[in-house]
Amino acid sequence: MSVLFRAAAAILLMLLNSAPLQAESLEVRVGYVQWHPDQGPVLSNVLPEPEDAGLKGAELAIQDNSATGKFLGQTYTLQSILASSEAEAITAFETMLGQGIELFVINAPAQTLETIISRGKETTLFFNAGSRDDKLRTHECNVNLLHNMPSYAMLTDALAQWLNQRRWDEVFLIAGPTDADKGWAGAFRRSAKRFGLKIVEDKPWTFDADLRRTASKELPLFTQASNYDAVVVADVRGDFGEYVPFNTWLPRPVVGTQGMSPVAWHRVVESWGAAQLQSRFRKLASRDMNSEDYAAWAAIRSIGTAVTGINSGDPAKIRSFLYSDRFQLAAFKGRKLNYRDWNGQLRQPVPLVHPRGLVARAPFEGFLHPNSDMDTLGFDKPESNCRING
């Protein structure tokens, strides 16, 4: 009797043990925190930016990951917040951290991002899908931070390469007053030097007139100079820049944050299967996909690609997979993408677009690099103090 009982107990135990094995599934939870300070009133408020820029990209990537996951017993969930203040963003982050989430996509300014990281755990893995700030890629580095948004330097290098190969090498620079404008303009000045462009005028934007009435009168005077090949505008929030094209003193193209712009993503990108991503996104969000959406999408697709490869949601294992030779992100930019091991930046081609069309895609042929021609964009290893992988 006792033997029989024991045998029965053993079988029962086996059944109990094997039950979880049968239903074994891996749940990967991702936290998404978005906050941006109010941009203030802008002159060009005709086309407002979508408030959920970034979040919808994250949601799409979760869908994409889940489609793969369902064949592999892996599920993905997103916990997200669109915070209305920095404090709310930080609190939300801490709540998610408390719930055991270890993978985060942050769409916020550099300072907020750094505050959030400082409150994370040693193993928490962060993806930057909001800040283009160069300092995060050059000296304020973090071992657990990867960047999916291209930096200002990557964007302006793309533009400067294009100007160089068009041989439009004398430019008139107009820089707006905000920190972001200064970041963009500073990056462009560096790019100009790198790619042999001459900035014939470097003028800060100071006018405070309403250009909807007077652009045609004020801008020709503002852009007076003996000669230049193009006008470069640094107006990140879109305050005055939309009024520069067609109002310059000389009949010249306008490039930069307006006119033709270097971006991470834009609705006009359609090659390499991008048309499919765009239509998937439109179905989900009822609007076009932009750079913030793309960065968040690429972050969560990186996680998904790693989880497919290693069948684990452990942040340390994901991190080491992302820096391994095995990782390659298929991200609709015509080639495989991976991360720079010194600063965690996602290498990527940069489309140059005007509002209704793709003009070109950097890097351009002829700009050579010993490792990857994508490293001609942004701070290369010798130019960055970051060594986050030793």
Binding site: A67, K70, F71, G273, Q276, R280, T305, A330, R335, K336
Partner: protein
């Protein structure tokens, strides 16, 4: 005079009979909404046919009387009658059909619906939708094994090969391969499947009995950045000797020994080479070159590109009618 007349008459007769004798290639022009018809002897475009929006995958019915066309942006598969060169019908295809494959029974058409993450199976004889099978994101490549047992679909963003049992319409196995799998091609004996991974830059050789990968190939084209080596279309010779792999923006076709999987040569063709097909005698290979808007013709014995033929914008698929 008389002899001249005779010669002229003879020439006219040859001219008249040419369309019937000529072997024809059909090329879908993705951004022109047309098909180019190429006489493969003269290697010239002899006709251009208006079709639906964004034609991509094309294939012949087993009796060679019809051409099926994925009109992606019209969300339909069109049926072209080859004798009259008229669209005679369309099939319920599901949304955004991109590639498809016809079962040897000449009835069941397996269609990859890129936007919907499903494979639709349509009976072409009565237009019944027999099944819709959930697959990964962006299903693209579709192939049915010559013995009719398996339908394989590649899902690009999911990076998988989905093996569908053609009797039950159920997925029996999923194989993760390199990033962005595009195309699958079976060997004639149905024993080996070749699958290309565009972003991975690889071709995966799958043993069909065990459904396991037995080999993985990569490519190195001299003077071409490794990132640009993006395998897409694959074509095998029926004697089991060669495989031709279109390498996309590397602008080359790799010639592979189909037994040892060694790359024998790289042939320079047009820009962004996409799909390819062999003529009846397997003496000539035609490739579609999307960006340069042309078709390259390879002499298979000499392994040389002998001609470039201008077609429409963004040529995508190519099919040679072996009976024409």
């Amino acid at each position: 005079m008389k002899s001249l007349l005779k010669k002229t008459a003879l020439a006219a007769m040859i001219g008249l009979s040419a369309p019937a004798l000529a072997s024809l290639a059909y090329v879908s022009n993705e951004k022109d909404n047309t098909l180019s018809v190429i006489d493969i002897e003269s290697m010239e475009v002899i006709d251009t046919i208006d079709v639906g929006a964004r034609p991509r995958g094309i294939l012949l019915s087993k009796d060679h009387t019809r051409l099926y066309i994925c009109a992606s942006d019209d969300d339909t598969v069109q049926v072209l009658d080859l004798a009259t060169r008229k669209i005679i019908d369309d099939l319920p295809s599901g949304e955004d059909p991109e590639q498809f494959s016809l079962h040897p029974n000449n009835k069941h058409l397996y269609i990859a619906n890129e936007d919907d993450a499903i494979v639709t199976v349509v009976d072409v004889t009565n237009k019944d939708v027999l099944a819709q099978i959930d697959v990964g994101i962006e299903p693209e490549g579709m192939a049915v094994s010559p013995d009719g047992k398996w339908a394989v679909n590649t899902s690009e963003t999911t990076s998988m090969l989905h093996w569908i049992n053609t009797e039950t319409f159920e997925i029996e196995k999923n194989i993760v391969i390199g990033q962005r799998p595009r195309h699958v091609e079976f060997s004639k004996d149905s024993k080996i499947a070749w699958a290309s991974s565009e972003i991975g830059g690889t071709v995966h050789i799958i043993d069909v009995d065990s459904l396991e990968q037995i080999h993985e190939m990569s490519f190195k084209v001299r003077g071409v950045n490794q990132d640009r080596v993006q395998p897409v279309g694959i074509k095998l010779t029926s004697d089991g000797k060669y495989a031709f792999v279109a390498l996309g923006p590397a602008n080359h076709v790799a010639v592979v020994d189909a037994q040892t999987y060694e790359v024998l040569d790289y042939l320079l063709v047009g820009s962004r080479v996409w799909q390819l097909d062999l003529d009846k005698d397997e003496k000539r290979l035609f490739t579609t070159n999307g960006v340069s808007g042309d078709v390259s013709v390879v002499d298979v014995d000499a392994m040389k590109v002998i001609k470039t033929i201008k077609v429409g914008r963004y040529p995508w698929g190519v099919v040679i009618d072996p009976s024409s």
